[in-house]
Symmetry: C2
Subunit: 137 residues, 2 copies
DNA sequence: TATACGACCTCTAGTCACTATAGCTTCAAG
DNA sequence: CTTGAAGCTATAGTGACTAGAGGTCGTATA
């Protein structure tokens, strides 16, 4: 049996975050001490480690909830898990693509400002007038 | 003089968003009609277009506020504007780097799941056990 | 001039995934 | 038995909006 602090140390998830996960029904303590403090078991650690790992990979909590449901039953078809992961990958790639467009435009804007006064500043002029941009965003 | 809807149409910023920007002091209407409806002028359009453009490039509203302050006075040194833009660029690049690490790991996890049941699912096993991962995240 | 209808108004609450604070109680070591 | 760390609940705040309720205004037409 582990206290919430122990669980936190073993998984790297902060104590308030663990309580938050419990409040939204993502995890459950296996009971309480006489003085109303949460107690967790080995399963609690595994489940929280799973969540942490999935969060680190960028999965939203809703997706993690679905993945946890799937892994609770080893007989479930896992096509759904594959789909969720594929979706997350596609989402991540889309974000990268968007950010790369922004970075390119920012670089064009942010480098080589001729003026040293705001009046002629590249950055400010580019932001004020969309026509200074190369691509759409 | 433009109504809020007209301003919205001319800048592509949604009406509730315009009201939100006003509520946080990012823009101001130049007055109200007899019936208490907002009225904007040409300057309002320019300022909102500036904001929209900066948001499209990923600048947070706080940075945009600072950029607007700078562009309000053409005599201000523009080193600060350059700094803000450079910071935004650095931030964007950092995000890209992180997302690329995640995408690589997701791809490794999400492709080629051998099993068709959750019990042997690649995705679920990788999430359950960090040791299945190639790199840190 | 009456009326219809779209556009406008304010205010509140919800989104996501936490984080912070306040004020209190419990646990474990000495 | 005392002390101090760790635990508890509840509430509010973050960023940048978005959605909804319930009411008012402006203007074109009949």
């Amino acid at each position: 049996m582990y206290s919430i602090g122990e669980l936190s140390r073993r998984t790297g998830v902060k104590v308030p975050t663990i309580r938050y996960y419990e409040s939204i029904g993502l995890i459950a303590s296996c009971g309480r001490s006489a003085g109303n403090q949460r107690r967790f078991d080995r399963q609690g650690i595994d489940r929280l480690a799973f969540i942490r790992h999935a969060r680190a990979l960028g999965f939203p909590l809703d997706a993690i909830r679905a993945l946890l449901d799937l892994s609770d039953d080893p007989e479930t078809p896992c096509a759904e898990a594959d789909r969720i992961a594929a979706e997350q990958l596609a989402d991540t790639r889309a974000r990268i693509a968007r950010l790369e467009r922004l970075a390119a435009e920012l670089e064009r804007i942010a480098t080589g400002c001729a003026s040293d006064r705001a009046g002629g500043c590249n950055v400010l002029q580019a932001l004020a007038d969309h026509r200074h941009c190369a691509g759409p965003h």
